[in-house]
Each structure stands twice: as C-alpha cells, then as structure tokens.
Amino acid sequence: MDRPTAEWDGALLGLYESQRPGLVRLAVLLVDDRAAAEDVVQDAFLALQRRWHAVDPSAAAGYLRTSVVNGARSVLRRRGVARRHLRVAEPDEGPAADLALLLDEEHREVVEALRTLPRRQREVLVLRYWSELSEAEIATTLGIARGTVKSSASRGLSALEQRLGGRP
C-alpha cells in the first residue's frame, strides 16, 4: 500500500536520526573508512526512499542494515579492483585516515586481525558481536543460510584466535 509523502517524510527523518549513527559505525567496521561509510549509509537511505512503497515500516531498519552491508561490499570490491588494476604513483597506504590508529594497542591488534579475514567472515562477526544480531537475523541480513552463518562465525573466530596467538 502506498503511503503519502508527508508520512514518508516524517518516517524517513525519524529513521534517519535514530538509525544513521549506528549504521555509519557498522559501515566503518566493514570498510575502515569514515567517508566511504557515510556514503554507503546515505545511499542506503536513498534506496529505502525509492523502495518505500514496498517496504514494511517495521522492516525498514533491517532493510537499511542489508543495504549498508551490500554497499560496504561494493566499496571493498571497488577498492580491490583499484588495487589490482590501477597504476598508482604511490604505494598503497591503506585508508586515508585509519581510525584504528586511535585505538589502544590491544584493540588495534584485534581490528587488524579482523581485516585479514574473508569478507563474509568479517561481516558475520561484526553483525554478531557488534550489532548483536542472532544467527537468523544475520542470515536474513546477508541473504545466506543459517548454517553458513554458523560456519562463517566459527571459522572467523578460529582464525582470529590463531592470529591473536591466544593472548587474553
């Protein structure tokens, strides 16, 4: 059922104010770049606006979360393509402003280990241990089976445990 524009504007702005900070942080945890994260979130809200007529308002937050994860994948894919195919004059120095440098060493070590994981494992771990989503919610967000969520989480944790050397 179509909703009138005025109601949409109010609903959108409410969602924007309530959801945007958390979505930007989620995107940063996935792409390690504040500017790219903000673009991803902005695009997610625009996508929601375009599809508003087909989105259940109670599912809008989940829709945004899925859009952010998908947008983050696009950022990572473009970044990978650029690294592989573009000739750059200077060596790759990573993200322009690495927010992880602001962290204590113990946390920075974990974040750097997280960056070495395959994309899906990282997504699952971020959604599980930062967004605090259930396996079913993660499966819905990523469009994968619950079994895949479970195996990705298990492999990701094991990889982290190995990289961190079991230090508490």
């Binding site: 959108l12 930007v24 087909a54 998908n70 930062w130 499966a139 469009g143 445990e161």
Partner: protein, 203 residues
C-alpha cells in the same frame, strides 16, 4: 584444537574491540537524504529500454516492408512460453520476445523456469530467480512476491548471485509466503505483495 575457553576469550576480546572501534567514529548529524538521484536514476532506467524498443520497431518495420504482403504468423517463430517476470523484464529491457535471435540470445536461459498458476502450498519448483536489477522479488504463479529483505547492490544482485538469473528451488510455504534456495547456500524469503508493489522495469 581450539578449546571453548579460548574461543570465549576471543569472543569477549572481539566484542570489546569492535565496540571500542565503533566508539572512535564520531557521527555528526548528516545531510538529509535527497531524492534528486532517484529521479535521475529513474530517467536512466527508462532511457535504454526506450531506445532499444525504438530500434526494434524500426528493424521490424523494415523487415515487413522488404518481405512483401503480411502473412499469418509462423507458429514456429512465435515466442516460446510465458516466463512470468521474465516477460515483463525482457520486454521492457528490449531483450525479448520478438522471436528473433538477438532477443533469444540476450534473455538469459533459453527456458526460464517459473512457477505455474496452480501452485499450491507445500509445492516446490525448480526456479530461475530474476536478479538483474537486484533481487526484489519474484512472480509466483502470476502473483508478485516481494523479497524480504530485497537484496540490491548498485542496481544489481549482491556478489555471489547469478545475473540475470539465479537457478534454484522455490517452495511455496503458504498462500503468501515462499522461500527460494539454491546450491550456493542462498536463502531468500518472499512474501505475497500487491500488484502495485511489482517494481518497474529497469535496464
């Protein structure tokens, strides 16, 4: 072998570090979303199909003029079976169903698998899910089922999905709920939606 204790330590450490990482992200109020881009996107969406349709019409007219008086359509050359959403998308994409080689070659699988109109709850069907414009939903026996949630990445499907179709199995769990699964491990839930929610065509 990694023990439970070690994994629990890693979990705790990961949770703490993710929260610490998120905390360093200052989130100043952002710009309000603007709709200009969607309008431009909508215009782009229609431009290519319109140009292709015009070109197909011109070629068809030329062929008719060269081939002499109109005759009854050749049943062998007529388009194949109805392909539900494929009809909508292919026709508006300019990829379809004039019966010529160009349309057949660009439309993806030669025989797009669909759900029959007499499908009943509990039935499963081999199914080609249309993904080209993002995974928005599927035509299930003539009824539009919306993806929940829709999966769109830059106007196309997310990584790991086929394009323009992903072959799998569609199970009608009830009159208004269905689920699509494939061998790659994807699972997509779909819910019956009104015809007004069927998305517009895209290029």
């Amino acid at each position: 072998m990694t023990g439970n204790r070690e994994l629990q330590d890693v979990e705790a450490r990961l949770r703490a570090s993710l929260h610490a990482y998120a905390e360093v992200v200052e989130t100043a109020p952002g710009r309000r979303p603007v709709a200009d881009r969607s309008a431009r996107s909508s215009a782009r969406r229609w431009r290519t199909p319109a140009l292709v349709a015009a070109a197909v019409a011109a070629v068809t007219a030329a062929v008719l003029l060269l081939s002499g008086p109109l005759s009854a359509p050749d049943p062998i050359a007529a388009p194949a079976t109805s392909t539900a959403e494929g009809d909508l998308e292919a026709a508006t994409d300019g990829r379809g169903s004039s019966g010529d080689d160009v349309g057949a070659a660009a439309a993806g699988p030669a025989d797009v698998l669909t759900v029959p109109q007499d499908a009943a709850a509990g039935d499963s069907y081999p199914f080609d899910l249309y993904t080209h414009c993002g995974i928005l939903g599927a035509d299930v026996g003539g009824v539009w089922f919306a993806a929940d949630p829709p999966l769109v990445e830059e106007s196309g499907p997310p990584a790991g999905w086929g394009d323009p179709y992903q072959r799998g199995t569609l199970t009608l769990e009830s009159a208004d709920e269905a689920v699509f699964r494939d061998d790659a491990g994807h699972e997509l839930r779909l819910r019956a939606a009104g015809e007004s929610e069927r998305p517009p065509p895209c290029d």
